[in-house]
């Protein structure tokens, strides 16, 4: 069994974080660990901040992760990475998609989108990985597969065979989209 791991998946409503966490949770079940997933939907499609918490372990109690408790943060957007940074543990890893989505207060010019987010993160996190998932998703053939590209990057960090991931992917995405998603996964996993 892999050691207990707490993963935070953060992003903007509509980016596909929910699907990514579904696949991740399915993988947890496959490898026989206790799994708890907590997500807040409701506003998920309206462009608000979204967060899903996924915990693997021998026995997991709380479905929510403590501040400073996340072993990995998978951030689909830069500002969201920054927002949740204090959930990352001292020796944790943060994977950041190099994408900027302006929230309404920025669009209106009421506040500025923070500059140099990637530097800030790099300076404070023990381990930072920056990914251009949109480009890889385009290469796979559909920009909407950026979530699966990011999931594949996460998959690389966990000690679980690739076949298990692909099987979970196949179980969860609709059959007609499996091929393009598989391609996206391969591109991210490379």
């Amino acid at each position: 069994m892999i050691k207990p791991v707490d993963i935070l998946i953060v992003g903007v409503g509509g980016q596909g974080t929910v699907l990514a966490s579904k696949i991740l949770a399915q993988v947890g079940l496959e490898i026989g660990v206790d799994v708890k997933v907590s997500e807040i939907h409701g506003m998920a499609q309206r462009g608000g901040s979204v967060v899903t918490q996924v915990r693997f372990g021998q026995k997991v109690h709380s479905p929510i992760i403590k501040k400073g408790g996340a072993d990995i943060i998978l951030a689909f957007e830069k500002l969201e990475a920054l927002r949740w940074l204090d959930y990352l543990s001292g020796d944790g890893q943060i994977i950041v998609n190099d994408q900027q989505i302006d929230p309404m207060p920025v669009i209106m010019g009421a506040v500025q989108y923070p500059q140099g987010i990637l530097d800030t993160i790099n300076n404070s996190a023990a381990n930072t990985l920056v990914i251009d998932a949109l480009t890889l998703a385009k290469e796979a053939g559909n920009i909407k597969t950026a979530n699966v590209v990011l999931l594949a990057i996460l998959a690389r960090q966990l000690d679980v065979p690739k076949e298990v991931w692909l099987k979970a992917l196949e179980n969860i995405v609709p059959a007609k989209f499996f091929e393009v998603n598989r391609k996206a996964f391969e591109l991210g996993y490379k």
Binding site: V12, G13, A25, Q26, G28, L29, E30, D34, V35, K36, V37, S38, E39, I40, H41, G42, M43, Q45, R46, G47, G48, S49, H61, S62, P63, I64, K66, K67, G68, G69, L79, E80, L82, R83, L85, D86, Y87, L88, S89, G90, I94, D102, P103, M104, P105, V106, I107, M108, G109, A110, V111, Q112, Y113, P114, T120, N123, S124, A125, A126, I143
Partner: protein, 580 residues
């Protein structure tokens, strides 16, 4: 292998395994997925009722007729269903009935965070509260036995963190359940005063029997640990306590109404100091204190919002609970509130309302997002259906002239939920209120459920589609106009006319939610040579129109091609991306 189920899916599964044959609900976060899941079982008749009161009434009928029934709603939905609930407690059931009440501490998606445990005590019905999906499923099954044994509806309470957390569940086979015999029994089911008085006595006897049951219930259990600290808790907080203070002695309550007085008294006597860890109100604490026992609760724990393992560690053990974290960001982080989607049919209406400087009594749905910047086009929003009555009240208080600068805004699902009676009042009491029904052909906010106006049932079977126009006319409204909310000029013309009319009018703005209409339109682009930077288009509050340095641009990945911005621009600077 176990299945990973959300609390809601587990409740649905529990109902299925318990042999339920009728399920009714009105959607509401975080309860919606319960009946969405149940509807997939062909053995169970499922429906979206127009509102929670009707949902419960259909459930009551099915129970009296002998079926096992599931009824589900969000916490505020129980307010709407409270009237039948209180008297149904008197009549009791024939087939077992379980009412799910899904609360939302922290108000992730609600207008208040009321604590519905009081409903169980108030209506004198038992209430169970699960701590995981497995328990949710098992408790629902147990609740049917409780319901039929004690002749009472049973409430099961969840909160967002139970309803929307997925945890592993063992599933079992369905137990088919025969319909109970139906026998006419007016002394039990016809609550005229003479019979009601007799039933109230039965309810009191039942309450005492349930107190004994709670003391014997396997759902209330003690996990002995360190006896210096004892913790009484339930629901999701049990999990937080296990995480934050797992070595303490814990009394985990699963049956929270009535409380197990003997078990609690025994527990309190065995430990040095007792904390009650409960979100929101001191429901357990106050009762325990009323028995003369000494416990600590709301003196240290907040009465608002959600708890977390950190909060519990801090209050109980004086630790911060947080582990060593990566250095937090020092820059201020802009908030990211939800917004109306690109192409949302509600947007244009607010744009025109702002242009005409109208006041708005609002209602609950996606269109409530129009209250946020930059639209900020809402003066009030209280509960579902309140917009129309509130508008009438304002007009009656401040006079007709004030009423002419005021509109009530309400969605299609909300209008059918509880707006019709408000409109009836406008007609009956000679108001001149202008009501705008935003008919986006769905219940969008809660995830696109069908409603009586869409022409489809919960199973996507075709059914009669309410004729809104004629419904409104039949109430006595003479001025009813349908308009496409994408046609801004037309909307403006109609609004100007109707707000000043000396009689009530209803404007039906009809266009499907942008997420329902899957046809792809070409995105827009701004011709920078023509753009004067006046920012008029930005008043639409569309997330696809952004300021990129000095330039206003349209984010092509976000734009849905609704073309509202073309109509708004006075310099002809916006067009389809290919053309400009």
């Amino acid at each position: 292998m176990k299945n990973l189920l959300s609390g809601n899916e587990a409740i649905a599964r529990g109902a299925y395994e318990a042999g339920v044959t009728v399920a009714t609900a009105y959607p509401g976060t975080p309860s919606t997925e319960i009946v969405e899941t149940v509807a997939k079982y062909p053995e169970i008749y499922s429906e979206w009722a127009p509102n929670e009161k009707v949902a419960l009434e259909v459930g009551i009928g099915a129970s009296i007729a002998g079926a096992r029934v599931l009824v589900a709603m969000k916490h505020v939905g129980v307010n709407v269903a409270a009237d039948p609930l209180f008297t149904f407690s008197y009549t009791g059931v024939n087939g077992g009935l379980v009412l799910i009440s899904a609360g939302d501490p922290g108000m992730h998606s609600s207008q208040n965070e009321q604590d519905n445990r009081y409903y169980a005590k108030f209506a004198k019905v038992p209430m169970l509260e699960p701590s995981s999906s497995q328990e949710a499923k098992d408790m629902v099954k147990a609740a049917y036995l409780l319901s039929e044994t004690f002749d009472t509806p049973v409430m099961v309470r969840t909160t967002t963190r139970i309803a929307h957390s997925q945890t592993p569940v063992d599933t079992e086979k369905r137990q088919e359940c025969q319909l109970k015999e139906y026998v006419k029994n007016p002394k039990k089911y016809v609550m005229i005063p003479a019979y009601g008085r007799m039933r109230h006595k039965v309810v009191e006897e039942r309450r005492m029997a349930l107190e004994k049951e709670s003391d014997a219930s396997p759902w209330n259990r003690i996990e002995w640990g360190d006896k210096k600290i004892g913790i009484i808790t339930s629901g999701i907080n049990y999990q937080y306590v296990k995480e934050a203070a797992g070595s303490a002695s814990i009394l985990k309550l699963g049956m929270i109404n009535p409380l197990p007085k003997k078990v609690i008294t025994e527990f309190v006597s065995q430990v040095d100091e007792v904390y009650v860890v409960e979100e929101l109100e001191p429901f357990i604490e106050e009762q325990v204190k009323s028995w003369g026992l000494s416990v600590i609760g709301k003196d240290v724990f907040p009465r608002t919002g959600e708890f977390s393992p950190e909060l519990i560690a801090e209050k109980l053990l004086g630790q911060t609970g947080a582990e060593e974290a990566a250095a937090a960001a020092e820059q201020p982080i802009p908030v990211r509130p939800p917004v109306l989607c690109p192409g949302c049919p509600h947007r244009g209406m607010y744009y025109v309302i702002n242009k005409l400087k109208l006041k708005v009594t609002g209602d609950i749905g996606c269109y409530t997002l129009g209250a946020l910047p930059p639209l900020e086009a809402m003066d009030s929003c209280i509960c579902m259906g309140a917009s129309i009555g509130t508008a009438l009240g304002m007009e009656k208080a401040r006079g007709k002239e004030f009423g002419q600068k005021l509109v009530a805004i309400i969605g299609d699902s909300t209008f059918m939920h509880s707006g019709i009676t408000g409109l009836l009042d406008v007609v009956y009491n000679k108001g001149t209120t202008t009501t705008i029904i935003l008919d986006n052909r769905t219940t969008a906010m809660t995830g696109h459920q069908d409603n009586p106006g869409t022409g489809y049932t919960v199973n996507k079977e075709e059914t009669v589609e309410v004729d809104l126009l004629n419904l409104v006319k039949a109430l006595g409204i003479k001025r009813v106009i349908e308009v496409d909310p994408y046609d801004l000029d037309k909307v403006e013309e109609i609004l100007k006319e109707e707000t000043v009319a000396d009689e009530p009018s209803v404007i039906i703005a009809k266009r499907p939610c942008a997420l329902l209409d899957k046809s792809v339109q070409p995105p827009m682009a701004i011709d920078q040579d023509k753009c004067t930077g006046c920012k008029r288009c930005m008043k639409l509050g569309c997330p696809a129109i952004v300021l990129d340095g000095e330039e206003i641009t349209i984010n092509y990945t976000q734009c849905n091609g609704c073309e509202l911005c073309i109509q708004v621009c006075r310099f002809d600077a916006i067009g389809k991306a290919g053309d400009k």
